[in-house]
């Protein structure tokens, strides 16, 4: 009887030590779910979800405070991916969320720009180059198309240009063919 108790106690102590060690050794920093959600979000940092960026939105989704259908740049495909990740039902875009738009980049009309730096301060990804009283310009390759620079501009010199289809970004289309023979 006593030996059985001792054996059980010994096993409990050993396993407890192993678990305790593992908890310290394999400790995950931060919330891995937030990172997984953040990896699905398009990183435009546009704030259309009413959160100040993609990471805060991801944190809110992980905490169960936000719906998965609040990210227009991610499109329906993004919602689907979030639904798959979180094991919840797909939800179409809600009434108060803007509709997804074609991907675009900002363009500064350099003739009108007065060099006020307001857009530079608004850009979440440092995609605008310029200095006070100097002309500003968009680094198109870095622009996420978030439109956050458009509103602060006092002279309305920033416009959003839809990215055109070129040979370099052209994609094969989904096959469409007739179901009947030509007569």
């Amino acid at each position: 009887m006593l030996s059985a108790l001792l054996v059980m106690a010994a096993i409990a102590i050993v396993l407890g030590a192993v678990l305790g060690f593992a908890a310290i050794k394999f400790r995950t920093e931060g919330n891995p779910l937030v990172d997984k959600i953040d990896a699905i979000l398009p990183q435009t940092q546009c704030g259309q979800c009413s959160y100040p960026g993609c990471k805060p939105y991801a944190t809110a989704i992980a905490a169960g405070e936000a719906d998965i259908n609040r990210c227009p740049p991610g499109g329906e495909e993004g919602i689907q991916k979030l639904a798959d990740l979180l094991g919840v039902e797909f939800k179409p875009f809600g009434g108060d969320t803007a509709a997804p738009k074609a991907k675009s980049v900002a363009f500064i009309d350099e003739a009108i720009c007065i060099g006020c730096t307001l857009c530079i301060q608004a850009c979440p990804v440092d995609a605008i180059a310029g200095a006070a009283k100097q002309m500003h310009t968009i680094i198109a390759a870095e622009c996420t198309g978030c439109e956050l620079c458009v509103a602060p501009c006092p002279v309305d010199c920033i416009s959003m240009l839809v990215i055109e289809e070129k040979i370099t970004n052209w994609k094969w289309k989904y096959p469409v063919y007739s179901l009947t023979t030509k007569k």
């Binding site: 953040d38 979000l41 398009p42 990183q43 435009t44 940092q45 960026g53 993609c54 990471k55 979440p124 990804v125 440092d126 995609a127 870095e142 996420t144 289809e165 070129k166 040979i167 970004n169 052209w170 994609k171 094969w172 289309k173 989904y174 096959p175 063919y177 007739s178 179901l179 009947t180 023979t181 030509k182």
Partner: protein, 529 residues
């Protein structure tokens, strides 16, 4: 595995291997091999695209109005995988703008338009002896000579020669030319075998390969004989191997399999298993680049299909295809043109688009030659496509995933090992355009990977910006705190008791003052009073 033995020369036997599947479409090659290669006349204008090769487009280095000489560089390679573009003849550059090219999108791309002056005046160029140069120097020469793979993919040859520390045992020259109608390599091998075998020797030198195998499908006996003769004349060790005629035997991975029995693993390159493969026409261009100092200015183009006289032409790069078609005379019921073969070729968006380095063949199409496919029916999972797939894939599953846009699963089923040969579509009893689905899925996956990369980049920049703003705030707060601390310290200092040294100084000062006062008092009695 099936293995067959073929007789090489008289006694030597080489073991040949089989790849999975394959089909036997009607070859339709004899029509264009009746007459020798003809030089296409100088066209009225040349439209030279600056992006004719895989990788980055060349950067134009000439301006509108410039007079250029034949062989003059007009597009500088720009980026690691890129190649040079040259003026195919002497003349004047009249435009550098977006023009329609042979691309499945039907979208325009940057081209230089050249009006020939008819003089064919060469820029100074000289031959080199390749044996005096290192492989790296020769690679650079090929890059600047604009030599790219002429089999159809137009991949810059210098990149394929950059092998690092890998040991290449076999250099394979691809003369299989498995697609129906195309005979440009066949005719080149028949007529210019000597140059090809010398080009092969140059490639062998650069790769330091132990052996050179020239694989040719056994439906080209004249080409096989010509190459054997050229090799014998020079006492070379290159081996010409007749391989069974089966489509797609001319695809690089399948040819490597047939000749060596080795399989290029998924996602790896032939060099990883010690093999490198070049088209015979590429070897010919390498020979021209070194032995004659000539950049790639022209290529052999098969004009076939619904034409009065099918023939091969040596055409300058940039020649409008309609001028070549006019030489073969398209029949009145022609209803379109295909660049490449009927299996893998692309329909031309317009017949006036220019010949590029990848243009091996132009087929005039008609309803008689290529009847419109009957309506596509649902997949019945008969797996005929599995039987013919040379990449050993499951085409019916890939079709299912592509159709339902389950790209992750398509990738898991090795979608990217598909060589888009079209054998599956060819045998499909439901007439489903399978390859179109695979192309769609591949380009969607590539676009998503690109978007993901951009998103990761944006995340990094955003996080860095947040970090920077945080740091600036911290620095400002620290500065303010330091200032406040300094002010407080000063205030505190004034309230503090003087140190003994200061006390001594103060006492001294006080004593001095007392002495002055004393003097002043004693000075009341002024001597002059």
């Amino acid at each position: 595995m099936e293995i067959s033995r073929v007789l090489i020369d008289n006694e030597k036997m080489r073991t040949l291997y089989h790849f999975h599947g394959g089909i036997h479409p009607p070859s339709n090659k004899s029509q264009s091999t009746q007459v020798a290669i003809a030089r296409a006349p100088l066209p009225s204008r040349l439209v030279v695209p600056l992006h004719q090769h895989a990788g980055e487009a060349a950067k134009p280095i000439v301006q509108v109005g410039d007079h250029v000489l034949k062989g003059q560089l007009i597009g500088m390679p720009d980026g690691f995988v890129s190649s040079a573009v040259h003026a195919p003849t002497s003349g004047t550059i009249t435009a550098i703008d977006m023009q329609l090219i042979a691309h499945p999108s039907g979208l325009p791309n940057l081209c230089a338009t050249l009006i020939p002056d008819g003089k064919e005046e060469w820029i100074p160029h000289k031959a080199i002896d390749y044996r005096d140069h290192s492989s790296a120097e020769l690679q650079q020469l090929l890059r600047m000579a604009g030599v790219v793979g002429l089999g159809g993919a137009a991949f810059p040859s210098d990149i394929k020669l950059r092998i690092g520390k890998q040991k290449i045992t076999s250099l394979i020259l691809n003369g299989a030319e498995c697609e129906p109608y195309i005979t440009c390599d066949d005719m080149l091998m028949r007529e210019r075998a000597a140059e090809i075998v010398q080009g092969a020797e140059m490639l062998r030198f650069m790769l330091d390969a132990s052996e050179v195998l020239i694989g040719i499908e056994d439906n080209k006996p004249e080409a096989i004989a010509a190459l054997k003769q050229a090799i014998a004349d020079r006492g070379m060790n290159h081996e010409v191997v007749a391989i069974p005629t089966i489509y797609p035997g001319g695809s690089a991975k399948q040819l490597i399999r047939v000749l060596t029995g080795l399989e290029v693993p998924s996602g790896k390159l032939p060099t990883d298993i010690g093999v490198q493969c070049f088209n015979v026409a590429t070897a010919y261009s390498v020979y021209r680049a070194f032995a004659q100092g000539e950049p790639l200015l022209s290529r052999i183009v098969t004009i076939a299909g619904n034409v009065r006289q099918a023939q091969n032409y040596e055409a300058l790069i940039g020649t409008p295809i309609d001028e070549l078609i006019a030489l073969g005379v398209a029949l009145p019921d022609t209803n379109g043109y295909i660049m490449g073969g009927p299996m893998m070729g692309i329909p031309l968006p317009a017949v006036h688009v220019p010949v590029v380095k990848a243009t091996n063949c132009v087929i005039a199409a008609s309803d008689r030659l290529f009847p419109p496919p009957p309506p596509a029916l649902p997949c019945i999972r008969c797996t005929r496509c599995v039987e013919v797939c040379p990449a050993d894939l499951q085409p019916q599953d890939l079709f299912w995933f592509a159709q339902s846009k389950e790209f992750g699963r398509a990738q898991a089923f090795s979608l990217f090992d598909c060589i888009e040969c079209g054998a599956c579509s060819y045998v499909c009893p439901s007439h489903i355009p399978l390859v179109q689905y695979y192309r769609f899925a591949k380009s969607e996956i590539r676009a998503r990977e690109h978007d993901k990369q951009l998103a990761d980049q944006a995340r990094e920049r955003h996080e860095y910006r947040e970090h920077r703003i945080e740091r600036e705030k911290q620095e400002k707060a620290d500065k303010l705190a330091a200032k406040e601390k300094a002010a407080q310290a000063a205030k505190l200092n004034s309230l503090q008791q003087p140190t003994p040294q200061q006390q001594a100084e103060l006492a001294d000062l006080e004593a001095h003052r007392a002495h002055i006062r004393e003097l002043a008092q004693s000075g009341v009695e002024h001597p002059e009073d």
